[in-house]
Amino acid sequence: MSADAHEKLIYMANQISKFFESKPHAEGVAGIAAHINDFWEPRMRRYLFEVVDAGGAGLRPLVLEATCSIRRPTPEHA
């Protein structure tokens, strides 16, 4: 997995975060998680978790908070 692809994913997650940051906190966290669960295919979520598991550098705080509610892709899909 290239650093470029990780960077792109971080950028996209942060973009989603910026929309939800103007919502009430709990709604924002749930919104990010739901959005990523609904629209990000497993490969993208796997990369996201690679970033998160490596410390989450570059991700906005709300994304990091949301990750507990984001589905980890099953091995079949990863």
Binding site: M1, S2, A5, K8, M12, Q15, I16, K18, F19, E21, S22, K23, P24, H35, N37, D38, F39, W40, E41, P42, R43, M44, P73, H77
Partner: protein, 959 residues
């Protein structure tokens, strides 16, 4: 094959709308009609055709030909029946000795100034003048041809000063003044129907002549937009399609649907044998009401263009020339490759792109191919790059991505907000309907960086407000409008309390009321003056029925989805949802982009917009299809390309879409395609994407297959086969053959069976069938038990989601920013005569209007850079550079440049970046920071690209 011949009766004058009814007697028969109906129309209702020339039911009565005279007992004279309204109890006579004599006299005068070349006239058999001469029993013309308009020379050989030569300048129709009877139908059609006012009557009395623009103009150099309304209206051979001049009159017609834009006009394909003679707008078409534009009416020649590929082709590598093969060989080659990829890289390594140009049935089959046969959800469609934010934004706020109205709704609109759309170019037939309403007094607010024609360049129309915002600041402008509406108390509290969540509204009201959202605060950012924005907000909120129409200038931004949400907020705030004349109306680009989305083309949802995560939904499909459906969303187009570059996505079946030309960041698309092992392109032409394909399935045009298209108003229209597919198979048959080669047990024998399957699986389509469509002509979904005749207006008694949801819309500036290296903002759009990537329109005579893409630049920016009008300039962004000619104009503001993307040589998408909408990844086409500098010609990239394209299009001679 001869499906339909519906006689189009002409009632002479338009239908009256009054609810009050009037009974009268015509030729001894009682007839009851709405008040305001003309006597001519009332007679036509009971089957009595009063002779007429200047009247036709698409135009208001004019009363100039004096042929439709009638007598009314107790009234003096012989009034024209077209301009005389019915009255209770009157007794009308349409035929008696006096009327016969008068009519014959009128006809005799007409014919005395008309050439008697009927046998060799292109309108022979299709001429109302001829018909009327017969109807009134004209047997003799007593007048010698003295001064006249039709003889080139008089008997002494002197030139006739009244004779004007034929104007052949328009590629599609001819104007022969010698045959003109000056009935003004063409002039009225141009005014009333099209709204261009290109035609006029010059001179008076005997000198009256129909004229395109000024005396020095021709049809081509005038304002004429070649919509064909005048040709349609002409009762003689004066304005005549060149195809009819070349071929002759048609002998049958089939009702079908145009395959260009999302307006979805109904047409009659008029045929002789299996040759298409002409396309004429169908007056009972509910989207277009008898109108058309230059593309649907005339630009169908691509279907028989020499570039069209008629044989399947394969090649091992994209560096090889193409090899023509049989369908069986192509299927074997393609399926072996795909099976090999799946065996090696797994079932998630392949996918499909459905076409928004093909039918619903075809899109449905392509997504079914990936879900049921490949067993993944890797399907996407070109809506990704256009209206995916509409799906998200309206889905969140209203509960469905659907546009709320039908096109008829505009007839009851009082204030229109038009955001990021240019209907006179992109959706011309809707534009004509809009312009008609604006001429009746409705007000227009245009929000667009560029001064589009509707701002001040359309006859008798001037926008009340033009908010010329800086590209990328839509959300700030829309939120500022909401700020004004809320802080000035202009919102509709009763509607909000009744239809929306009041608590959510209060949060939203608090958010928008913050002074940082006021127009005074945002004007420095958006470039829109505070007082103009306030005036626009007040007008929309309090000007009566307010409707918002928008296009890709809204969606194709980093915050595209947020703007759509903001638009929905505005409509809810002002109570402008759920009745005629209001609503939120996305103007969709492609003919079937609505349909392809409905059909489950997106990777996260099955047909009918139901998420693949829902077990109950999957079960319905699983039980009918007999397979297990993946519960994870699949890859979107940009993900497919990213995954291909990484090496995990290897095979693509792409039907009727040219992603290499239409998608952003061309170099990235090319790299993704080049990294795949099997790219199957299914298209009419070797498009740009085919440069990277291994298999080419030739496609069939919309004239060659049965199916349905769904237009921007959710209207499902029939597409009917008028001729056999030139390459042997309709596109749905090709997909089926490929699926069978991949092991699927599919045996559809007609698209109606596919629609039946869709209806079975999709609640909003439950009531749709080909029988129903024959019965009703067309139907707007949802169509089911609750709405057996379809749903013209959405959210009438409540939102689909229950309560309308206000969502706060924080402005987040795009990361695509200008700076010293790239100081200008590029935005892109369309023009009338070309369509999208131009694959079709470039292969028609439409190129006379637009032979190349040009860059519009403000005189100030041009001056600074030493750019002259018509000169080649280099256009560079962070992504790449290209060159094209400059056009200096103040339609764009200083700091903004604009171009179209219709021509592959320009490759405007080499310039666009990979920034995209936060929610849907719809690319940010509308904002790119660029620099412009004088140049000598094509860039190195353009030359390399052209060479690669040419090499990749080589076809080996058949063995």
């Amino acid at each position: 094959m001869k499906d339909f011949i519906i006689p189009d009766r002409d009632f002479g004058t338009p239908a009256a709308k009054s609810k009050a009814m009037v009974t009268l007697t015509i030729d001894g028969f009682d007839v009851t009609v709405p008040e305001g109906t003309s006597i001519m129309r009332a007679a036509a209702e009971i089957g009595i055709s009063v002779p007429k020339l200047c009247a036709t039911d698409s135009l208001d009565a004019f009363g100039s030909c004096r042929l439709c005279l009638v007598e009314i007992e107790g009234r003096n004279g012989t009034p024209a029946s077209c301009t005389t309204p019915v009255a209770p109890g009157i007794k009308v006579h349409t035929q008696n000795a006096k009327l016969k004599q008068l009519r014959r006299g009128v006809m005799e005068l007409y014919i005395s100034d008309h050439p008697l070349d009927c046998l060799t006239c292109a309108a022979n058999g299709d001429c109302e003048l001829q018909d009327m001469a017969g109807a009134v029993g004209l047997r003799d013309v007593r007048y010698e041809a003295g001064e006249n308009h039709f003889e080139v020379r008089n008997t002494s050989g002197e030139k006739n000063p009244n004779w004007l030569p034929k104007d052949d300048s328009n590629p599609y129709f001819a104007y022969d003044p010698a045959k003109c009877i000056v009935c003004s139908r063409c002039v009225r059609a141009c005014e009333e129907i099209q709204g261009t006012f290109a035609l006029t009557i010059e001179g008076r009395g005997f000198d009256s002549r129909v004229s395109f623009g000024a005396k020095t103009d021709t049809a081509l150099t005038s304002d004429c937009v070649s919509c064909g309304a005048c040709v349609q209206a002409c009762p003689t051979g004066t304005l005549q399609e060149k195809s009819v001049i070349d071929i002759g009159t048609p002998d049958r017609s089939v009702i079908t649907t145009c395959a260009y834009c999302g307006v979805g006009c109904s047409f009659k394909a008029e045929m002789r044998g299996d040759e298409l003679v002409r396309m004429t707008p169908y007056k009972h078409g509910k989207a277009n009401r008898g109108h058309s534009c230059v593309k649907g009416r005339f630009a169908y020649g691509y279907a028989s263009h020499k570039d069209r590929i008629l044989s399947p082709m394969i090649r091992d590598s994209i560096n090889d020339p193409w090899q023509e093969v049989t369908w069986a060989e192509a299927m074997e080659f393609a399926s072996n490759r795909m099976k090999g990829i799946i065996a090696k890289y797994g079932r998630h390594s392949v996918g499909v792109i459905t076409s928004s140009r093909c039918t619903n049935e075809e899109a449905y089959l392509v997504q079914k191919l990936t879900r049921a046969v490949f067993q993944n959800n890797n399907t996407d469609t070109c809506a990704r790059v256009c209206h995916s934010p509409t799906g998200y934004g309206l889905g969140q706020t209203f509960g469905t991505s659907a546009g709320t109205q039908d096109f008829d709704s505009v007839e009851q609109t009082d204030v229109v907000i038009l955001i990021g759309a240019n209907p006179t170019d992109g959706h011309p037939v809707f534009a004509s309907r809009l312009k008609k309403r604006l001429r009746q007094g409705a007000k227009l607010i245009v929000i667009d960086p560029r001064r589009i024609d509707l701002v001040d360049n359309s006859a008798h129309i001037r926008a009340a407000q033009h908010l010329a915002l800086t590209p990328g600041t839509n959300v700030a402008v829309v939120t500022a409008l909401a700020h004004v509406i809320v802080t000035e108390g202009l919102f509709d509290e009763a509607f909000i309390r009744d239809r929306c969540d009041w608590d959510e509204f209060q949060d939203y009201a608090e958010f928008v009321s913050d002074p940082r959202h006021s127009p005074e605060a945002t004007q420095f950012l958006t470039g829109v003056k505070a007082d103009e924005l306030r005036a626009a907000a007040r007008l929309y909120a309090k000007g009566g029925n307010g409707a918002i129409y928008y296009g890709l200038g809204v969606t194709e931004h980093s915050q595209g989805s947020t703007t759509v949400i903001g638009i929905a907020n505005l409509a809810m705030l002002t109570g402008n949802v759920g009745r005629p004349g209001v609503g939120v109306n996305p103007l969709r680009g492609q003919n079937n982009v609505q349909g392809s989305c409905d059909m489950g083309s997106f990777p996260h949802e099955l047909p009918g917009y139901r998420h693949v995560k829902n077990d109950q939904v999957r079960e319905v499909f699983e039980s009918l299809w007999g397979v297990k459906i993946d519960n994870e969303p699949g890859l979107r187009i940009p993900n497919m390309l990213d995954a291909a570059v990484e090496g995990t996505f290897k095979g693509l079946y792409c039907q009727g879409e040219d992603i290499l030309q239409s998608d952003p960041d061309t170099k990235h698309v090319a790299a993704g395609l080049a990294a795949m092992d099997c790219v199957i392109v299914h298209d009419l032409f070797l498009n740009e994407t085919a440069n990277y394909a291994h298999v080419f399935f030739p496609g069939s045009s919309f004239l060659e297959k049965d199916g349905t298209f769904t237009n921007a108003e959710r209207r499902i229209n029939r597409v009917r086969k008028v001729m056999a597919p030139r390459q042997g198979y309709a596109d749905w048959e090709v997909t089926q053959m490929f699926a069978q080669a991949m092991g699927a047990d599919w045996h559809y024998t007609h698209p109606s069976q596919i629609m039946d399957e869709i209806a079975l699986l999709t609640p909003s389509f439950a009531g749709v069938s080909y029988e129903r469509l024959e019965e009703l002509g067309s139907v707007q979904w949802p169509c089911n038990e609750k709405a057996p005749e379809g749903t013209p207006l959405m959210h009438i008694d409540g939102f689909v989601r229950g309560k309308g949801k206000f969502i706060v819309t924080e402005y987040v500036a795009t990361d695509e920013k200008t700076g010293p290296r790239f100081p200008l903002l590029l935005t892109t759009g369309r023009i009338l005569s070309q369509y999208n990537v131009g694959a079709q329109t470039r292969r028609t005579e439409n190129v006379v209007w637009h032979a190349e893409d040009v860059l519009e630049i403000h005189p100030h920016d041009a001056e600074l850079r030493g750019v002259r009008d018509g000169q080649f300039v280099k256009l560079a962004s962070r992504s790449g550079e290209t060159s094209l000619r400059a056009k200096i104009t103040d339609r764009v503001s200083p700091g903004v440049v604009y171009t179209t993307f219709h021509h592959p040589t320009t490759q405007a998408n080499v310039i666009t970046t990979d920034f995209s909408d936060w929610a849907t990844n719809c690319p940010e086409y509308k904002v790119t920071a660029v620099q412009v500098s004088p140049s000598n010609g094509p860039t190195e990239w353009q030359e390399e690209y052209a060479a690669q394209a040419e090499a990749s299009r080589r076809i080996l001679a058949a063995e």
